[in-house]
């Protein structure tokens, strides 16, 4: 694409240059810091329960553990969220939906795998109908346990927050 402007001619792909410019701007120190702070304190997981760990995940946002304290608010549609918790076993049928949901989420987005099943199958390791999340999604943090206690989930959230603020979590594509 060629843009002419007061005698100056820019040659190149405008969209790509714009993206590069935005990327450069976003990665500047103060802006990056602010962005990472905002993301860290506004992790909204999508309402997507894949298996039985959902019971403990729900308990995590319930009064006794109350992860809303950290700005963690389970939200409804994938478009508005930036975190995906694989809650337990991922069956083959569910794995398709999981990839589908993950692709609908806007960048930056993170995946946390919860429970022994999400790590390597857990008690269902030899089942013919399960998928290991690491094969299909870029998992950021694994939470061991069967099911993990809500404290463990809360700890994973704090860990993720720290990683985001240190710039270690790779939730960004562009």
């Amino acid at each position: 694409m060629v843009c002419g402007m007061n005698g100056v001619t820019l040659i190149g792909n405008l969209e790509e240059s714009a993206r590069k410019a935005v990327q450069w701007l976003v990665n500047k120190t103060p802006i990056r810091g602010i962005r990472d702070w905002g993301i860290a304190f506004s992790l909204w997981p999508v309402h997507f329960t894949t298996a039985c760990c959902g019971a403990e995940f729900a308990a995590t946002s319930a009064p006794r553990f109350d992860v809303e304290r950290m700005g963690f608010l389970p939200f409804v549609a994938p478009r508005q969220t930036n975190l995906m918790l694989i809650e337990g076993t991922l069956t083959r049928k569910m794995a398709k939906a999981a990839v589908w949901v993950y692709e609908q989420m806007p960048d930056p987005k993170f995946v946390v795998a919860m429970g022994a099943c999400a790590i390597d199958g857990g008690i269902f390791w030899n089942s013919y109908n399960i998928v290991r999340p690491k094969d299909i999604l870029p998992v950021e943090i694994y939470i061991p346990g069967c099911p993990p206690r809500p404290e463990a989930v809360a700890r994973a959230i704090i860990m993720l927050q720290k990683r985001i603020r240190r710039g270690e979590a790779v939730g960004l594509k562009f």
Binding site: A51, C52, C53, M94
Partner: protein, 388 residues
């Protein structure tokens, strides 16, 4: 050119109130013309895996499908296994099993109540339900050491004895829950909006309930007083007094109220159990004598069972066993075929949720779109339990 009147809504598996399933709803305006549930999103092949695992290893396996109601699943399986092995747990163990099953029923019903609340839009009821559920989880944790997956009930008995001071703590917890139930009445059950949403919605007639083989609170809300604890009592239930909560209306509200009444009855049972519990061993004599003397001392002092070696390779004789228990969501059926080896030849597990799946297509037809979550929630359907 024919005019297309309906659109097909795909509700789930990523939907705030779908749980782990998909509902195909054909919608004409605001009316659901046809609804088909598509289950199997959490099908983890428990029945097949059971054929490769030893009998004792299956205890945690059958708990996983119903994480909110593990004790009853554990109990049902062990009862079937005991029938195969031809042993029976001592009376104290029977009472301990009963208490855990009832505690589990309470927290499972609170779970259902909370989920139903959020489906209707009342986040407060969700939070309250999950907060009060924690009380029973905490008590269960004192008894068994785990929050949800207890694996407490083993063939021939239970793993642990009552901890010290359990009775007093439990009495406190029960008083608290009684107090809270009044608040639920004020904020949710008698709330005009809740009543408008639930009364007369999703009516299940008695004949239909029987015909479709519905189980649990959903069946009792339609006026069928069927409760396995009464019809064919197991554990300590024959010696306990309690009423079967029955309502005649059969609508969503009746299903909720039956659950609330069952919470009350469960509390009544727990109180009686703690009063009547006999002294004695918590593991069947047959197994207790196999524990080496060094450990036996530990078992008697601490009230904790060290598994005797025989448990690792239980070999029931050839045959088959059938057991049914009243789990929180309804009747739970186990059928085991043994070929005399260390693994079962066939384990059939029919969970209450699986038997209630049929209600989706039966009840939701002709309702409004907004009624889908209202009815869904009132069924207290737990998809992993149905898919196994």
């Amino acid at each position: 050119m024919s005019e297309e009147r309906t659109i097909e809504l795909l509700i789930g598996p990523q939907h705030p109130s779908s749980g782990h399933m998909r509902l195909y709803a054909e919608v004409d305006g605001d009316i659901v013309v046809r609804l088909r549930p598509n289950i199997g999103y959490v099908h983890r092949t428990v029945e097949k895996l059971a054929e490769t695992k030893k009998y004792i290893q299956i205890i945690p396996l059958v708990e996983r499908p119903s994480l909110a109601d593990t004790a009853n699943h554990n109990l049902g399986y062990v009862l079937a296994l005991e029938k195969l092995l031809g042993i029976e747990a001592p009376p104290r163990a029977q009472y301990l099993r009963t208490i855990l099953a009832e505690m589990n029923r309470i927290h499972s019903h609170f779970y259902g109540l909370g989920i139903h609340g959020i489906m209707l839009g009342s986040s407060t009821i969700f939070m309250w339900g999950f907060a009060d559920r924690e009380i029973m989880i905490e008590m269960a944790q004192r008894l068994t050491g785990a929050r949800l997956t207890y694996s407490y009930i083993i063939p021939g008995g239970v793993r642990r004895d009552l901890p010290q001071g359990f009775e007093d703590e439990m009495e406190k917890a029960l008083r608290y829950i009684e107090r809270r139930l009044k608040d639920y009445g004020k904020l949710f059950l008698r709330n005009p909006v809740t009543r408008a949403r639930l009364e007369g919605v999703g009516v299940l007639k008695k004949e239909d309930a029987i015909k479709l083989g519905i189980v649990g609170p959903n069946l009792r809300a339609s006026g069928v007083p069927y409760d396995v604890r009464k019809v064919q009592p197991y554990c300590a239930y024959p010696e306990l007094e309690f009423d079967v909560a029955v309502r005649e209306e059969g609508d969503s509200m009746a299903r909720v109220l039956v659950r609330v009444e069952e919470i009350r009855q469960s509390m009544r049972i727990i109180r009686q159990v703690l009063k009547q519990i006999p002294d004695g061993p918590i593991l069947s004599e047959n197994y207790l004598k196999m524990i080496p003397p060094k450990w036996k001392e530990f078992v008697e002092k601490k009230g904790r069972i060290k598994f005797p070696a025989i448990m690792a390779n239980l070999r029931p004789p050839k045959g088959e066993a059938f057991s049914r228990v009243e789990a929180a969501r309804g009747e739970l059926v186990y059928y085991i075929v043994s070929d005399g080896s260390v693994t079962p030849y066939r384990l059939r597990m029919v969970t209450p949720s699986f038997r209630n799946v049929v209600l989706f297509e039966h009840l939701i037809q002709g309702c409004r779109v907004a009624d889908i979550p209202a009815i869904y929630g009132s069924l207290d359907y737990f998809p992993p339990e149905a898919d196994r």
